[in-house]
Subunit: 439 residues, 2 copies
């Protein structure tokens, strides 16, 4: 297929959370970008002959979903530990298994994540983990867009030097690789696993390489209390004090933040990755998203890793972001549907440092888009597309996925990945890893 | 096909939330009931020749999901009003549209609900609405199991007489109809729409006809406050005082309940339908489910109507029941996976007054079961089936659905319903209903 020029005929299109075309339209794609969306009475004859035509009259096109936080290869650990407090979950189940990971395991685990994300309408995801060359190789093969960090946890000088060298080399190899689909960010894990000197060095490297940063901040109450006890300030104030927030930062979680923290997030334009399902499952709490949005903080949505979720389905996060804050605040107008959809698309794209326009179907934007089945029961009667997508649709409605104009899922079939092989390898590797010590 | 005797060969089976067969097995079904589950090395030759054989080696069988609360035909109003406070939502959006409903509309709206529920693995649902003869006809045709109530909202003597007569006639026509798949319960809407005399008369009718009751109780804080102001007691204490709770009762919501209410629920064996997603979306709050379970109250799960959810996907309720209470309580051990799965299956069956064993795959239980695709990414690596089903699986993993041994979904295709016709009729009817007054 000529991927250079493509004309996608669809039954409707959500250009952005605020702009819906509730009638048939033609999406013209050129060199991986949206060229135009022609509405209404376009006839096939008006479409230049060199455009490859794809007919999906019973589909609605939406911007691809952006997963702003995760650890892709943790699909390998799906179901390895549930219903446990965070520290026991980490220490008894996750850490013993992670110690047995290899590059091969991360490669296949990341491919499993890519398969699952493609099938559920995600076109871009972030990853912070280990063996990241292998993860990047998987992303390159999958066709997805990836914002990748080699996780840093270091406190002593030698460890910091090693981590900085590893991240520098990873950026050299992978930043803007795979036709620009892969971008690299620096990934200091958290203030409780990185010393202040480590955070300072990461900020320096970020400035030197002109790369953004992602980090976990204020996920649990205990983390905040321990940070206050050790440093006399909240994790966010601590990150500010180390100089980290002078750089572009994506902060995952931000569940336990006070007004001072929110002021810092706003003033430093720190992006927040909200992971509602993971925060519930690990009993971390509920992030004050309505307040963050009211203060103008950019908030995207993420699944977190499959060991703490336990899937990578962004429709679930989208729905939860739109309903959870209503339920816990008692305000049924909190996080309306369009705001939630923006968090999963355009705001999510901004959160992971993609250029303006990304996460929409506006001309010039990357052609990262997803088709949903208009004939699905969830989209029937179908009077209110944004509402239906946010409150009713699900992964089962995803039929086609495009990234940079390339088809990764066609009529529910993967085009880039071999699901059977991935399943085989993941089961083989997981079995060889054995049970966690505490199981 | 000879539906009398069936042998279903599957790759694994969840007999109940507490009993998993993680190896190939044969499920023998006879006259609509589970006859036996043969494990391990059964050879085809050992299966009596008169059994029709269905091979699904890459599926896991689970008990069908039981949806304990809803208003099926409200699928017609999906997306008609969101992001509004409950009273404005009801008065400006829902009531004006409901006033235009007809028997035909309820018939097609209920069929849409049945389609959606079959596709997402529900085998039994409750319904409390209007034009219930038309709803019952739809249930009979769909092949699903339905626990149906003609909704009662009455306070004056004539209105109460009419409602009692309507419910009596509905029970005469439909109780134990459709080969016993339909059972009738009495459906007083709520203490705020039914006078004490109405509730008393419903209790009398329930005793006379030997039929259970379903009702909404303590959904919102405002409802509880108004009940206390009017009657000097909580809605649950009020229901007790009218004699209603002397009969078998399924109470939907129970979000705002105190210790006295919980004691009443336990002592009177009132079943609770927990609707976490609807309660969040309408900003009603979070029911104290861990406490209800600890007190031994039977709790099932429900979706509520599609106007307040906005879909009928029980996997979402299952997941939310297992994660929400962890997140709001700060206790990661709250509502473990097996408890959530029981709520969606065996406890749900008890909640809607089905006989013991229903909601399991134990010998003697009704053969209401669902097959999930073991090859799905959600079930990979697949070390922990109950965890995977509760925390990772979704409607997209459902391949086959059986009710009373009859196949309603085969390899993702509906066998009893015409989806295209339902879609056409629902859209036609919804369009003719027009916009709600306040839109």
């Amino acid at each position: 297929m000529n991927q250079g020029k493509l004309c996608l005929s669809v039954g409707a299109a959500v250009i952005s959370a605020d702009e819906v075309v509730a009638e048939p339209c033609q999406i013209l794609i050129r060199d991986g970008r949206i060229e135009a969306v022609w509405r209404g009475g376009t006839t096939p004859a008006q479409i230049p002959v060199e455009y490859v035509r794809v007919q999906r009259p019973r589909a609605v096109a939406i911007p691809g979903l952006v997963n702003c936080h995760g650890h892709a290869a943790m699909t390998l650990l799906r179901g390895a530990g549930d219903d446990l407090p965070l520290q026991r979950w980490l220490e008894e189940r996750i850490f013993p298994l992670e110690a047995r990971l290899t590059g091969e395991a991360v490669y296949w685990g990341t491919l499993l994540a890519c398969w699952e994300m493609i099938r559920s309408g995600t076109t871009c995801f972030t990853d912070m983990y280990m063996w990241m060359d292998d993860a990047a190789r998987a992303v390159a093969e999958s066709g997805l867009r990836g914002v990748l960090s080699w996780g840093i946890a270091a406190s002593d000088p030698a460890g910091i030097d090693r981590a900085v060298a590893t991240s520098r080399a990873f950026a050299d190899r992978w930043h803007r690789a795979a036709d620009g689909r892969i971008t690299v960010t620096l990934g200091p894990h958290a203030p409780y696993t990185c010393s202040p000197e480590c955070l300072r060095r990461v900020a320096e490297l970020s400035a030197e390489l002109n790369l953004p940063i992602q980090i976990h901040l204020s996920e649990t109450w205990r983390e905040v209390e321990e940070c206050r006890a050790q440093f006399g300030r909240s994790p966010i104030a601590h990150a500010l004090a180390t100089g980290l927030l002078e750089r572009p930062v994506l902060a995952a979680h931000c569940v336990h933040v006070d007004d001072d923290d929110i002021r810092i997030l706003r003033e430093k334009d720190v992006r927040v990755a909200h992971n509602p399902q993971s925060n519930l499952k690990l009993a971390s709490g509920v992030a004050p998203v309505p307040k963050l949005l009211a203060e103008g903080v950019t908030v995207g949505l993420g699944t977190d890793g499959a060991a703490s979720n336990n899937n990578l389905d962004m429709f679930e996060e989208l729905r939860l972001a739109a309903t959870l804050h209503k339920g816990v605040s008692g305000d049924a107008t909190a996080v309306p549907a369009a705001d939630a959809l923006a968090m999963a698309t355009s705001a999510g794209a901004r959160a992971v440092f993609l250029p303006p326009g990304h996460g929409t179907l506006q001309p010039g934007a990357a052609a990262d888009l997803v088709l949903l089945d208009l004939d699905s029961p969830h989209l029937t009667p179908g009077d209110n597309l944004v509402s239906d997508i946010v409150y009713a649709a699900g992964a089962d409605d995803v039929t086609d996925v495009y990234v940079a104009g390339r088809c990764l899922l066609s009529n529910r079939e993967l085009t880039t990945l071999d699901a059977e092989r991935i399943r085989y390898e993941v089961r083989r590797i997981r079995q060889a890893m054995g049970a966690p010590g505490g199981a």
